[in-house]
């Protein structure tokens, strides 16, 4: 780990941009990514000719993307559509810059799932267990949450605290897709999709794109906005033994513990220093599992931890202050990393965490990653 720890505070995010979020059948991944790219360039005040690294995720062709944007980088990485690629991609770009493979990298993500009616289940990508009717990532998370209920006594009313707090934040974010406040009772009376999970435990499906621009901390001082430093990161994959997609029988607890420890050690902080947590919330149980794995509470105690609005702005740990995947936008982790940057710059208006110094991103997935951002 010592090699990685030397990269603490060496790489910065200098620009962030996103599109509007919604239903845009008139464009595609390239059109949306171009908008986000333009907004990110404006955000940091640089011209596109300064970009010499490009990473794309969920965009069909990196060649076409480069053609559309008029870019001929020195460093290019295409990543698949999975949301776990956000944390992986940011870490890969940071190490590429540290190694000198490029100086200024643009990271591009686009999603057209809403306008193209993506279902995330059934015949889109049948797996081993579809003949038994086990399909969709939500079903896998329901299977994990039922187990958590049985093992630890966690209740769906406790689970409801997650989407209720995150929706509250979306209400403070003028750009969020779903802004009408909800209550625990609304959650408890919503229709089941995969019992014990209900509609309000599921993330949105919407179109949009996100861009982050990274460079070395040294160069970062020259740009329009104060840089946000990447102070630490950690990684742990969980591929075996699991033929069950999006599921881990231990709630990714070992992987989260490992990735979290690496990130805290590299950044020289503990979870007590974290002012806000940006937590991959594809389904609301993921937030509970992440809180336990990172050590914000003991395993099995996340239900009690989140009660009484603990995850809301002003609570003990604000989570997903932009409204997350559940209520802001399904940008598969990328928009959460943008929100981390905006919080540390103090740009978040009504949803701003006061005196925000440290923001942590985490994704509890088969490729578990965590990134610690601090003010430059």
């Amino acid at each position: 780990m010592s090699g990685l720890n030397a990269l603490k505070d060496k790489i910065a995010v200098i620009g962030v941009g996103n599109t509007q979020y919604g239903n845009f059948p008139g464009t595609d991944e390239y059109g949306l990514a171009a908008q986000a790219f333009g907004n990110a360039l404006t955000d940091c005040g640089i011209g596109k000719n300064q970009i010499d690294g490009m990473l794309v995720s969920r965009i069909p062709s990196y060649v076409r993307m480069g053609e559309v944007l008029g870019l001929n980088p020195r460093w290019t990485i295409p990543l698949p559509a999975h949301g776990r690629m956000s944390g992986m991609g940011i870490i890969e770009a940071a190490t590429a810059i540290a190694a000198g493979q490029c100086e200024v990298a643009a990271l591009l993500y686009a999603n057209i799932g809403r306008s193209r009616r993506v279902n995330y289940g059934g015949d889109e990508s049948p797996g081993t267990w579809d003949p038994w009717g086990f399909t969709s990532p939500g079903a896998a998370h329901a299977l994990a949450f039922r187990r958590h209920m049985e093992l630890f006594g966690t209740t769906t009313r406790q689970l409801a605290e997650v989407p209720v707090s995150i929706r509250y934040h979306a209400g403070l974010n003028p750009d969020a897709v779903m802004r009408t406040p909800i209550t625990i009772e609304d959650h408890e009376s919503a229709r089941f999709i995969a019992d014990p999970l209900r509609l309000l435990d599921y993330c949105l499906i919407n179109d949009g794109a996100v861009c982050l621009i990274l460079t070395s901390a040294e160069r970062a001082r020259d740009f329009a906005k104060p840089p946000v430093l990447i102070s630490g990161w950690g990684a742990q994959d969980t591929f075996s033994p699991s033929s069950i997609a999006n599921f881990d029988i231990d709630f990714w607890y070992p992987a989260l513990g490992s990735a979290g420890r690496q990130a805290y050690e590299m950044a020289g902080i503990t979870h007590q220093d974290v002012d806000a947590l940006m937590c991959y919330d594809n389904f609301s149980p993921t937030v509970l599992f992440s809180l336990e794995g990172l050590g914000f509470c003991k395993q099995g105690e996340s239900g009690a931890f989140v009660e009484n609005g603990a995850l809301s702005l002003g609570g003990r740990l604000p989570v997903n202050t932009d409204g997350g995947h559940l209520s802001n936008s399904y940008m598969q982790g990328w928009a959460l990393n943008v929100e981390a940057v905006r919080q540390l710059r103090g740009e978040c208006g009504a949803r701003q965490v006061p005196d925000c110094q440290v923001v942590q991103y985490v994704q509890a997935t088969p490729c578990t990653r965590s990134i610690v951002y601090t003010r430059g």
Binding site: G122, D123, P126, P131, G133, T135, R147, P241, I244
Partner: protein, 133 residues
């Protein structure tokens, strides 16, 4: 869209499992070199990387590790079954299987004992399912 249910994709690796299921047997891939046992099968043992893998018959007994009730049919063929129960079973031999919990609903609890039952579909496929023991 078809109103039939999705069928397993049978290949050279998993064909013995599906052939045996039609005969009312639950097979698990087994490593003669190190004893590792698993489903779904792989081309090599994930523990010791031995290539020649065989099959053993499971006793068909295990414990209930979780369950859900599906209220949405991502496949049209399941529309008439809603809600249907999916379960996660830890077989006594070690592997985790996803299946359906069938028979009297009862009051399932984590760790409840389950046993395999075989349900023929109309497509020459038999699905191993589980019932409370």
């Amino acid at each position: 869209m078809s109103d039939t249910k999705p069928l397993p994709r049978i290949d050279t690796l998993n064909k013995p499992f599906w052939d045996a299921a039609r005969l009312g047997k639950l097979l698990l891939q087994h490593c003669p070199a190190c004893g590792d046992t698993r489903f779904p099968p792989g081309p090599v043992c994930p523990q010791c990387l031995a290539g020649d893998q065989t099959w053993i018959e499971s006793a068909g007994q295990g414990t209930l590790e979780s369950w859900i009730d599906m209220h949405r049919a991502y496949w049209d063929g399941f529309k008439n079954d809603l809600p249907y129960r999916v379960c996660l079973v830890r077989l006594r031999e070690g592997p985790l299987l996803v299946s359906n919990l069938v028979g009297p609903a009862g009051n399932p609890r984590l760790g409840a004992l389950v046993k395999v039952v075989f349900e023929a579909t109309d497509n020459e496929i038999t699905l191993p399912k589980f019932a409370l023991a």
